[in-house]
Structure formats: structure tokens, C-alpha cells
Subunit: 348 residues, 2 copies
């Protein structure tokens, strides 16, 4: 029988629909059309992007030339811009504001591959450091209140470029999703005296059926009220509200876990489309230490349709217990092009 | 320059992104693959669906045989079921409930066509009456608190059958989206002494640039903070909280407006995929007369990606003013198979 399950943090119910059940191995590989033309994110084509904001690159190599291994550039078609002032005004009953913000692209590798899972573990660490560095830099602008780091992989997840990259949009507002999570976490803390995410980790570790990887610093699991088949959360085991405070040993463990779970997904369903979102506490606001930051992987094997858009509730045909079991059982097989990075120098 | 626009009812901001702007006529026709095999919703194939719940049919014709012009059946793969009791229980910190509810399919016509816009105006009226009748019938079950009527057209919008149909999921909970709208409308009323949707109508009629059809009983317009290109709302001009109270002259006007705007969309972008959601006040709860019911058409020409899923905010590349202008200018051309209905009898 189907079940209504409530997300432990926000007001979101999910119907785990066994009647329209799809077992993990019912999903078929996704066919992606190869994009034609030169890739603007490949080394040698640096001139096709706006000038770089930062890069991890070989000593002596020039800005906007090859020699980098992670490169951050402004989005060529920005949704928002730092130049605009966040001036709020009324048009009759409507509120409107200039398109203030920052919209950046993090080129995650020199390899033209669609996902982070085809990269070395070391390379994934570098990407996480780039996210952290941008997050610390952007919060120096007091107008920005939230830094949303996300990744779209596959056309069903909205990716328009094949080459592995993530994006960042910094906003002058704390987004609704974050505010709802903040409120849920704060209320739980007031009512129960503990962090709901820490309690989720405790229950998942006790029950184990939804755990995918039990890392040293991160727990990787399919959430109880998964909205999407194979939805997976990566959560730091210690209570930490701000992703910007991530430490070196955590970066290593997160890189290893993230690469492994994405690899498992790719091995199970070739070209699996997914969005990844990093949820963390707002910046330039009174610090909210109730918050517990985390990374969500949201595979896009189902279509959000009228029910989801109309209600905000979701129908998920694959129970998270089955999804986690399948992910645990799937062996990670890595492609062959493991390539050492040249001289990674990092200032933590 | 891009703009952040706030929805007047809920906490939802939309970036109207002119930099990545797509003019209305930049959108191309959508190619839909023809589905193979017999259609379970076509007349003659009544045996392929579960037994009908109700139908508008010719006098003397038998249940589950041809002779109907609108037919309502249970979903063959229901997400929820009336048989289940909504018993809430805890599993550790998680809340879970049996999959109570109703999940029905409204077969909107005998014609195997994808949209309501290929139907006669009279036929669209009949569909609206069927929605109303099911809404009045289902609320007799006191366990059900909300009746979500929706329609998915095109595969990008999650439709799995071509034959024009809508769906209904009745839930034992008031969905988050509705609760947020209720709160927004109630707060506005307390603060300003009027209904925000009535004020939206007033401002739209004064400004006119987002109006698509100014009907006698319904206003059809592109909302100020449109999340999707060509998003269109159909709102009753008089304050009415409950769709179940719709009157005959309103049904006629809504049918005419709905068919016309869908036709305009189809003429402009062939096979435009869209979701339609009917938002109305909950049932079997203290009546909320602050609510103002409405119908939203949400075209799916863009992909909801990491930013949308991470923040709950949206990027819309087509300003609603341009969308409304293009829809106003587009002539409705109807296909040729206008066919009179045989003996429509209706008990209002």
C-alpha cells in the first residue's frame, strides 16, 4: 500500500506510491545527444567565456589561458548581476527589485565529461574547495544574503553544456526553501532541544536501511520522505551550520563520498540526470546556528507534473529503502583516465 | 536589466531574466512522438479502464460502454486509495500515514486529441461540470480535506496518455501550496481589508499590459511574477472561495476563455506542453472565505533545474508583458471537427 511520508524538516509530504512502483532496476539508461561544436569550457577555449574570477592553476600560467584545473567565470547569460542595486520598490500592489546578485560557473575539470564521478577524488576535493572559496569571497558583499551552489547534469535536469560544471547564484534574499528549512530546524530545536538533522543521522544510523555510505565525517542516505527516485543526501555528521566552515578532513571525506555515490548512480543508470543543491545557512544575517548544512542529489527520472506543481507535495514511485539497497549493492567502477594533478597548492 | 519580482500572494520571487531573454516567437514547435497501441480512453475501450465512477452519457446507454461524452474512472495506477484510513503514526522521528485519498481520471472527450482546445466550447463546459460534480461528491467523505484537479498535457509536462484527460487527487491534508496561498490571502486581508486576488484583478484591468482575455466573469492574464514563459491565470472576477460554487454563467464564460487561451498557445507553439492546476479552498475544514479560487496554466518550455529546486525561486526568460502581448495578438484557429453533442442533460 502507498504511504504518505512527511519530511522531518519542512511541511512537505510525499506519497511513496507502491502501486505505481518502479523497482530500481526498472529504470533504463538515458540517451543523451552529443552536443556539436567546440566546448567553451574546455582548455584552450578560455576566450569563449567572460574573464575568469578565480582559478586553481599551475604556477606561472596566465589568467584565461590553459594551466588551470578548476576555473570560475561569470555566467555568460547571467540571471542576476552584481552591478545592480537591490532597491525594492512598489508597482501598485506588486513588489519589484533590480536583478542584483552574482551568477558564476565553476568549471570542475579540464576533462570534457558530464559528471563529477568521472573525475579523480583529488579533483572533486578541488571543486569543493572552489565552492568554499567562492562562498567566502562573495559574502564580503553585504548585499548578498544567500549563496546557492548547484549543479545540473543531463538535459532532463536542465544542463545546457556537457562539460562538468556547477553554478552559483548569490541572492539579496534568503530563498523560501532555506527559510522553511531554517524555521523547521529552529522549531524542532525549541520543542525537542536538539537538531533535527542530527536526530535524522542518529535514526538513519540505527535503522541502516536507507544508508548508502557511512563515511567518517559524512552520512550518505536516501531520505525517509524522498521526493525523487534515488534522492540522496550527504550530511556532515557533526553539527555545522555554515558550509564555509568546512575543514580539510571533511573536504576529503565529502569528495570521496560524493564521487562514490554519483559513480554508483551512473553505473546503475547510464547518464542519470540529476540536480545537486548545497543548502547552508544564510550570510550577512544574524548567524543561524540551528541550521545544519547538507548537499542534496535530486535525480530527475520522473517529471514534476500538475500534482507536484499544484500542491507542493510529491509522488515518488521508488521507496527510498529500495533505492538505498540498490545503491549499496552497486559496485563503483571508475573510468580509466585517472590523471594526477600537477602541483595542487591550496591555502586553507 | 533583470528584475526580481515577488508573487503578490506567496513568498516566491521570480527573476525575470532579460539577459537570457527569449522573445515569444523564439520558441519552436515541440515534437511529440505518436503513442503506439490502442488508447484505453477512446470509446469502445471502456473495458481497459477500471469501472466508471460517473459519466455524462446518452439516455439508455449502459455504464462502461460507448454513449458517454465525459467519463470519470479511477486511476489504474492510483497514488492513493479511498480504502486506506488516514491513520497518522510515528516511526522514530518520522511521521507516516496510510496512502488515503482518491485518484481519478476525467476523460474529457471521445475525441483522441491531446488538448481541451481541440474540443467544442460546449464540450469544455461539460468538462468543467464534471470537475464540479466530482468536487461536490468527494467532499462528502469527511476524511478528505482537499481536492486537487489538474491536467498534464505533453510529455515534458508528465502526460503519459495522449487522449485529452484531467486528473483529480483528493488528499487527507491541505497541501503546502494551498496553505501558503491561504495564509498570504488572509494576511493581506487583515492588513489591507481586501482580497489580494480582487486587488490583482483591479490592477491588471487598470494596467492592461498583462491581460490576455477580459471575459465577462473571468479575467485571463499573465501574472506579474510569472514563473514560467506564458504562465496564465484564469480568475473569477467576483470573489468566490470555492470552485464547487461555480454558477452556470460562470461555467460558460470559463469554458470559452479556457478554450480560447489554450488555442492561442497551441497556435503559437505547436504541442506546447503544460500543466493546469485548479486552486480552491479546502473542504471539510472551517470554510475559508478569504480564499479566491483560480485556474493556473503552467507551460513547460523551460526545465526546473538546480536553482529552482534549491531555492524555491524561479528564473523566467520571457517577461509576462511580452507573453501576454503575443497571446493577445495570436488568432485562435480551431480545427474542423466541431461536432454537436447528443442530448446534453445537466442538473445544476
Amino acid at each position: 500500500m502507498s504511504e504518505w511520508r512527511k519530511d522531518p524538516i519542512v511541511d512537505r509530504w510525499v506519497i511513496i506510491a507502491t502501486e505505481r512502483g518502479k523497482r530500481p532496476f526498472d529504470y533504463k539508461e538515458i540517451v543523451e545527444e552529443k552536443k556539436a561544436g567546440a566546448c567553451p569550457l574546455c582548455p584552450g577555449n578560455e576566450g569563449q567565456t567572460p574573464p575568469e574570477i578565480m582559478a586553481f592553476r599551475e604556477v606561472g600560467s596566465e589568467k584565461d589561458t590553459p594551466g588551470w584545473w578548476v576555473r570560475v567565470v561569470p555566467n555568460k547569460f547571467p540571471a542576476v548581476m552584481v552591478e545592480a542595486q537591490p532597491f525594492l520598490r512598489q508597482r501598485g500592489i506588486y513588489s519589484v527589485m533590480n536583478g542584483t546578485g552574482a551568477h558564476e560557473v565553476i568549471v570542475e575539470s579540464t576533462l570534457h565529461e558530464p559528471g563529477l564521478d568521472s573525475q579523480t577524488e583529488k579533483q572533486v576535493e578541488e571543486v569543493i574547495w572552489a565552492w568554499r572559496d567562492r562562498s567566502l569571497d562573495l559574502r564580503k558583499d553585504p548585499r548578498l544574503k544567500y549563496i546557492q551552489i548547484f549543479k545540473n547534469t543531463g538535459s532532463a535536469a536542465g544542463a545546457s553544456l556537457e562539460h562538468t560544471h556547477s553554478q552559483l547564484i548569490a541572492t539579496p534574499l534568503v530563498p523560501a526553501e532555506i527559510r522553511q528549512e531554517m524555521e523547521g530546524m529552529r522549531e524542532y530545536w525549541i520543542r525537542k532541544g536538539s537538531c533535527v538533522m542530527c536526530d535524522v543521522i542518529r535514526q538513519e544510523l540505527a535503522e541502516r536501511e536507507r544508508v548508502v555510505i557511512d563515511g567518517r565525517h559524512f552520512l550518505v542516505f536516501a531520505p525517509f520522505a524522498s521526493r525523487f527516485p534515488f534522492e540522496t543526501w550527504l550530511v556532515p555528521k557533526e553539527h555545522q551550520h555554515d558550509f564555509g566552515q568546512i575543514r580539510e578532513e571533511q573536504v576529503k571525506d565529502l569528495a570521496s563520498a560524493l564521487r562514490a555515490v554519483l559513480r554508483k548512480m551512473s553505473v546503475m543508470i547510464k547518464n542519470i540526470p540529476y540536480n545537486m543543491v548545497l543548502h547552508t545557512a544564510p550570510v550577512n544575517c544574524p548567524e543561524d546556528r540551528h541550521y545544519h548544512w547538507h548537499l542534496k542529489i535530486l535525480p530527475r527520472l520522473t517529471v514534476m507534473a500538475g500534482f507536484e506543481l499544484g500542491t507542493g507535495y510529491y509522488i515518488n514511485p521508488t521507496p527510498p529503502e529500495l533505492a538505498a539497497h540498490a545503491l549499496r549493492e552497486t559496485q563503483e567502477v571508475y573510468p580509466l583516465h585517472e590523471r594526477p594533478l600537477t602541483e595542487v597548492h591550496r591555502y586553507v
